[in-house]
């Protein structure tokens, strides 16, 4: 009897660990029990995303993107390493993903992002599954659900890289922060989802907080986001969704005006962004994605409104205001040209509005950057993808206009039980 128990336990353990079906070894284990055992174990998966990048710009596109006029200087992440593609091989962080229903009320998931230099918690979240009236509360560290690109993980994107305007306005990680989100699925005959989010405020590009003298310390939460997504209830192969979004939050910057390596003036104020998004999907219902079509666009505009709180070199300007206004958009379409093969094109501009008003009263206006990208990808199975992407960009930098041609080759896989992708 005891031996039989051990055999069962060991077989079950080997099934859990090695993904073995136990029927042949332990026919006495009922199917329902096997199923429930599986259900209690979290889904675990890992994503490995390797890409090669080359471009013909002087210092590399990764550097170029930090010099775009009007979008400010690169803010060092603190850990010394610069983001953006490096010439040659890049291993985008490996995502280790765990998720499961916690109990009848909550669901939990976490993603540890490990790269060659560091490990960080990309997301760790709890969400409710049993609130009434179409409500859902979500908390932890998560991606803001505004727009199309921001909520998606990089492996879900149709192109290797983040759209230009997202990269320039929110940095390499997008808006991903610690906070709380409340969403409401309205009982309307069409799809209407509304969300409000409060974040602590930790985005280097738009919502940074330093809180050290001479900058004031601001209590969190320092960022509020709101968005609406709506779409008609289409039957058949078509799906359409519109979105609008906006965010407001506290922001602080320190600058080194004379280039001696020490900050000499400090800004504190309020930043905001708003915009809209649109996606249309056609599901051809042919095997392996043939004939499927997705078109997607987003417009994003931001305004920075900062007070000069201290200036070591020009104390007379303290109390004056600096404002920045920039915008950008992308439009992209992807089509399944053959089973497992997709072709995509993306056009984007950043800085159609691109103005700064400095504390000394000077007004500056900068140029428009644009980029056109083409990609082709091959999806051997749901769990792997190989992609080739080229881009031709013209960038308005602080040192004048620079053109760059980029090539990307990407190879990514997902192992384990990966969750379904949202619309």
């Amino acid at each position: 009897m005891r031996t039989a128990h051990w055999v069962t336990i060991l077989t079950l353990a080997s099934m859990v660990l090695g993904g073995r079906a136990v029927r042949s070894q332990a026919p006495s284990v009922p199917a329902a029990f096997r199923r429930s055992l599986q259900a209690f174990n979290p889904d675990v998966s890992a994503i490995v995303d390797l890409y090669y990048h080359a471009d013909d710009s002087r210092e590399g596109v990764g550097h170029l993107l930090e010099e775009i006029a009007g979008f400010g200087h690169a803010h060092d992440d603190g850990d010394g390493h610069r983001h953006g593609p490096e010439e040659g091989f890049n291993l985008r962080h490996v995502e280790l993903y765990v998720s499961a229903d916690v109990d009848p009320y909550f669901k939990g998931s976490a993603i540890a992002a490990v790269d060659v230099h560091e490990a960080e918690l990309e997301t760790a979240e709890i969400e409710t599954t049993a609130l009434p009236w179409g409500l859902k509360l979500r908390g932890g560290k998560f991606y803001s659900d505004f727009g199309r690109i921001n909520p998606q993980h990089s492996h879900q994107w149709d192109f290797v890289d983040r759209p230009l305007i997202h990269r320039l306005a929110l940095g390499d990680h997008g808006l991903n922060d610690i906070g709380l989100q409340l969403t409401w699925l309205a009982p309307t005959p069409f799809y209407l989802l509304a969300g409000v989010e409060a974040f602590q405020g930790d985005n280097e590009a738009m919502f940074a907080h330093r809180g050290e003298q001479p900058l004031p310390s601001r209590e969190g939460p320092r960022v509020g986001v709101g968005w609406l997504k709506a779409g008609p209830s289409l039957e058949g192969p078509h799906a359409l969704q519109f979105g609008v979004f906006g965010a407001v939050g506290r922001h602080q910057e320190e600058h080194d005006g004379d280039g001696d390596g020490e900050p000499d003036h400090w800004l504190d104020g309020e930043n905001a962004f708003w915009g809209g998004d649109l996606v249309y999907k056609y599901d051809a219902s042919r095997p392996n994605g043939e004939g499927d079509f997705v078109a997607q666009a987003e417009y994003f505009r931001r305004r920075k409104d900062l007070d000069l709180v201290a200036h070591d070199l020009r104390p007379d300007l303290v109390g004056r205001v600096r404002t920045d206004e920039q915008d950008g958009y992308y439009v992209q379409a992807v089509y399944g040209v053959a089973p497992r093969w997709r072709l995509g094109a993306r056009w984007e501009q950043a800085g159609l509005i691109n103005e700064s008003e400095l504390p000394n009263g000077a007004r500056e206006s900068f140029g428009v950057s644009h980029r056109a990208s083409l990609m082709v990808d091959f999806t051997p199975s749901e769990f792997s993808r190989i992609r080739l992407q080229v881009a031709r960009g013209s960038y308005a930098t602080e040192e004048g206009r620079e053109e760059a041609f980029e090539v990307w080759a990407q190879w990514m896989i997902s192992i384990g039980a990966h969750g379904a992708h949202k619309f």
Binding site: L185, Y191, D283, P287, S381, A420, H421
Partner: protein
């Protein structure tokens, strides 16, 4: 379906002010059986149309609306819907239909399941379903069991509908049995007895008895000449149907589940098909017919293209019509 009974249920529901039960199914086959069972007491909607492949459907906002308002969610299970169902259920915020709730019915729990992998499973084997082959609705016996399970679940959720749905399920089973074995055989022997014989393996010998032969009708009679035949299918989606009617599936056009046919695989398959005397290459309309045609031409067989789901073709209007159509396509021109 008993029309008068359905009408009575509708009137009853109106009189008592009870709203119809809203049933959402992942596939059209489940919807067809559910609406036969629920009759007028429910509104039934399928997310996958029957022309679509439920493996690769994508979550869409319209599906979330359906799931939001559903009282009962019925799925095939066995990870068939894994690519989109979780996103729909999460998006719908409807605790009544989440897995584990009484409004969530996974019919793989009552169906007879084939192809449960015996050894280690890896994805190098292609899109293998580690809990078994999910195309079980194509076995009429499973259709019968699914109807009973749906009736019991509706009865539990809505006791006021219990009598009506149990009667509807019994009527559905009776109609299915008659289409399967012919009305005279069902009249003489009884559906339950025939299915028990199918389960314990004594059915064929029983039907071969001279005294039974003239009573036999329906799909079993039509498929009788095909007993022992070997076929090739595109995807491993016909195993349940084939097994029920004594046909052996000796291979698939896909080298591995979910992987499109390759020339090398077709060449190897051709030899096996020739050796086994395959006359039929069977596939659903949503797959490209090129590989099937090539193989059929080489082995001197024919391609049978037929819907594997209700709504996959115009004639497949409900579950019984679907099986009628499949039997007709296989047996015609033979």
């Amino acid at each position: 379906m008993n029309g008068r009974l359905g009408l009575a249920v509708v009137l009853g529901a109106l009189a008592s002010g009870a709203a119809p039960l809203r049933i959402v199914t992942t596939t059209s086959d489940l919807a067809a059986i559910a609406s036969a069972v629920a009759g007028g007491g429910a509104e039934t909607h399928s997310l996958c149309s029957g022309r679509e492949d439920p493996h690769v459907l994508q979550a869409r906002p319209g599906m979330i609306l359906r799931a939001r308002d559903a009282d009962l969610w019925i799925r095939v299970g066995l990870e068939l819907e894994i690519g989109w169902e979780p996103a729909v259920l999460d998006g719908a915020r409807n605790a009544r239909i989440r897995p584990g709730a009484r409004g969530h019915l996974d019919l793989s729990e009552v169906a007879l399941i084939l192809d449960v992998p015996e050894g280690p499973v890896t994805r190098a084997m292609g899109d293998v379903h580690p809990m078994g082959n999910p195309h079980y609705w194509l076995d009429p016996l499973n259709g019968r069991r699914m109807a009973a399970a749906i009736a019991e679940r509706i009865a539990e959720l809505r006791p006021d509908l219990a009598d009506a749905v149990r009667a509807n399920a019994a009527a559905f089973q009776r109609a299915l049995d008659e289409r399967m074995f012919g009305p005279r055989m069902v009249e003489a022997v009884g559906g339950d007895a025939l299915w028990s014989r199918a389960l314990d393996g004594t059915l064929d010998a029983f039907l071969d008895e001279p005294s039974q032969r003239d009573k036999l009708g329906g799909w079993v009679a039509a498929m009788r000449p095909w007993r022992g035949a070997a076929i090739v299918t595109y995807h491993r989606s016909w195993i349940y149907f084939a097994r029920r009617f004594g046909i052996s599936v000796i291979g698939e056009l896909e080298p591995k589940p979910g992987v499109p046919p390759t020339a090398a695989h077709l060449a190897a398959l051709e030899e096996r098909a020739r050796a086994a005397g395959v006359r039929i290459v069977l596939q659903e309309p949503f797959y490209s017919p090129k590989a099937a045609r090539r193989l059929a031409e080489r082995i001197g067989g024919r391609v049978v293209t037929v819907a594997g789901s209700v709504g996959g073709e115009r004639e497949a209007t409900d579950y019984l019509a679907l099986l009628d159509l499949i039997v007709r396509r296989i047996t015609e021109g033979a």
